[in-house]
Symmetry: C2
Subunit: 84 residues, 2 copies
């Protein structure tokens, strides 16, 4: 399944707890869209969040975010994982 990295910027009131809660909502919502939110990274100071997901397509990944908590990323980019 394609991989996507999305980037949220300047998220208001971002805390570790708030982003963990949003991610939990993604996990609760993702199954019906065939999406797997795999990992995320965040910066509380500038409100940045990166989310890595597997999804059938970009729209499905975005749909999960929209329905789960309404926080839509500024960008979402299809990626391949590097060979390590």
């Amino acid at each position: 399944m394609p991989l996507f990295m999305d980037i949220h910027k300047h998220v208001d009131g971002l805390t570790a707890e708030a982003v963990a809660d949003a991610h939990k909502k993604d996990l609760e919502t993702q199954k019906k869209y065939g999406v797997n939110y795999m990992q995320y990274w965040f910066n509380e100071k500038d409100g940045t969040v990166f989310c890595l997901s597997e999804a059938p397509n970009k729209e499905s990944a975005l749909r999960v975010h929209k329905e789960a908590h309404g926080l839509i990323p500024e960008e979402i980019i299809e990626v391949k994982a590097g060979s390590m």
Copy 2:
């Protein structure tokens, strides 16, 4: 050690092989700066690369890229990994 996500955009001539080669050069260079380039993701069509590293600070992570292959990211953001 702090974690950093960096973003390269519109890298000319990006291929899976070229980015794997650049990453290999990071791995060869990183030790002397106390950096650990952990993983990367890329998009060949638009020339985007995300690199996740552990580094003492932002400057050390950038220094490895500069010395290894000269490809400096547009942004580098200190992040915490989300609780999964």
